[in-house]
Subunit: 389 residues, 2 copies
Amino acid sequence: MTIPKAAQAFPRSEYLRRLSAVKSEMERREIEVLVVTVPANITYLSGYTSKSGYVPQALIVSLKDEEPTFITRRMDAPAALHQMFIDRNNVIGYPEALIANPERDGYDAIIDFISDKGLGRKGIGLEAKLLPSLTVEKFRSRVAGARILDCTNAITWIRGEKSDLEIAMMREAAAISDAGMLKAKDVIRPGVREADASAEIIGALVRGANGKPGTDAGSFFLCATPRTSTCHIRWTEDVFQQGSQINLEFTGVRHGYTSPLMRTLSIGKPSDHIRRLHEGEVAGLEAALAAAKTGTTCSDVAAAFNTTLKKHGFEKESRCGYAVGIDWTEPTASLKEGDTTILKPNMTFHLMLGNWIGEDVGYVISETFRVTDAGGEPFTRLPRELFEI
Amino acid sequence: MTIPKAAQAFPRSEYLRRLSAVKSEMERREIEVLVVTVPANITYLSGYTSKSGYVPQALIVSLKDEEPTFITRRMDAPAALHQMFIDRNNVIGYPEALIANPERDGYDAIIDFISDKGLGRKGIGLEAKLLPSLTVEKFRSRVAGARILDCTNAITWIRGEKSDLEIAMMREAAAISDAGMLKAKDVIRPGVREADASAEIIGALVRGANGKPGTDAGSFFLCATPRTSTCHIRWTEDVFQQGSQINLEFTGVRHGYTSPLMRTLSIGKPSDHIRRLHEGEVAGLEAALAAAKTGTTCSDVAAAFNTTLKKHGFEKESRCGYAVGIDWTEPTASLKEGDTTILKPNMTFHLMLGNWIGEDVGYVISETFRVTDAGGEPFTRLPRELFEI
């Protein structure tokens, strides 16, 4: 019996549109085959979200073929048949003998496929900067004579401009992020363990919102007193106290798409210092959104934020955001002064205003937004409050 | 104000013991500095579990110094000061200017540190096979003249033999895994969405067991009818039906340490085929555990499983397990025929007997165990049942 095709997150026409953009870029770079190994890029071009990327696998995009071919470990092929929009003949499982084998691995199966099909004579694109060095060496030595071109982030730049269908998906993710933050407001109380509150919030992110469940548990950070100067701790075994401050960062996930959100909560009144920092950051957030119009630059948005925050007597060392989409960060454009990327409609950013100062101060607020002609349009519906419990 | 030190998961003496083993290996390989970049290895040598590994960072182990030095993004330094057993002077934050900078990144700060301290003249070890190719090239070009040695998995092999303190930690993780599976038995019912059941199970894994919370949400897979032939799908939006089969794989986590567990559940009577497969797998599991004595090989354990399963009329294509510990898989020893790794006391394995056949059959059972002179001692206390709901 064959495994049924899952309900697809996007229509076939949407995937073909994305592939068409990738193929144009391949032509521009004069390559005829692109070996896609970054999981978020595989999701983008096929709908695949199964977590098999810890072993070698690749989506092979060829100028000769309308659909790409996916090569993965044989035990993961049924998930690809189920989730990917492509024809079942375009999913190839490589044998188990290539797992935990020091001589040959899944990349050999990928190289064999390219060689056997006579692909790549004009040039082979790799996401080389992100591949293990051993793998790049293997391509260089096994595909002798072929021109190997580094295409790291080529697809990621294309992903940067979302379609309306993708924006709708990110709004679904944002509604889940909001539900998670509202749950946090409900369950964070003095005497509650950080872990128990986290269990409730993560549960809310998985259950989802508006009848649409989360499709994954994204990254999750809860950094509470006395750890508010940290930013990437999951949670601890401690119990919240009267006076505790809690910095939260997480996202809902819909078919890979994220919409990260940060808010600070305070059990009791926050200090004057944190209150003033909050006011400066919210003013900066609003200035940044107002600046984030089609045609301006990432640098302009960052300058709007930084100037406003400075007027309130504060500074933020780290960049104030980055491109966001599938699997959270897109390693392309940054909202920082000096980044001259020009904003286009439906580019999406995590305006990440976490501000960690020294070892005892940290305050977080963030919103995920899309670029429009009128400025940045945030996906969250939450108020820009420092939530007092 | 300085951030306080967290309650430590292990005493200082335990970390020094681990570092001593690593330094002996460095002497054997004739290197004087080891650049540790694999997050699980950083956790092993320092107690750090904060999730900052998506930007460059490294724990520098030098033969000259008792404690290692950690170099990370400045905003992540407070988490390192909080979690790591090392002195605060041995945590160095590099500036934000190295983030999203195409010219220089955090590895430049790491290379600068090694050069400035005059380290590595004898040789520098890198976990090179896992580093991006760009990074390895950077070390080669910037530390001209230095002998750069690939030390991929050098620490992972040392991690393979656990101390009694680590075994105790894995037992805590196993108790959480058990709690998660018992929760699954409670919440999986006809008419329940896969996502809602997953929310409850993941919540249980975060809440923990015996007063010890989970310290992270580990990887989680729920592959239910009609997807039982898949193995790495999180969950879907579907609703369980009478007759659904559910294959579960997840782990509790304690301070990085995992103890993965798999069981199959059936709503109503399973088919005769699945029932017979279950009986064969359980017999194989018991044969493998009996074989897993100090002094035998991984291959012997796999042969015991495979022979027994074959007597029951089944075969399993994939290896029947792998070394396990911090962050789940240790990419070293595999329980497969031909792997001649000799079992030593307190080596720990995930005896992973997931068996996916074609596109419509999948059955899973697994236990995490430690090697003893008397055979494999499993950490789970769950019965070896195909749970019928």
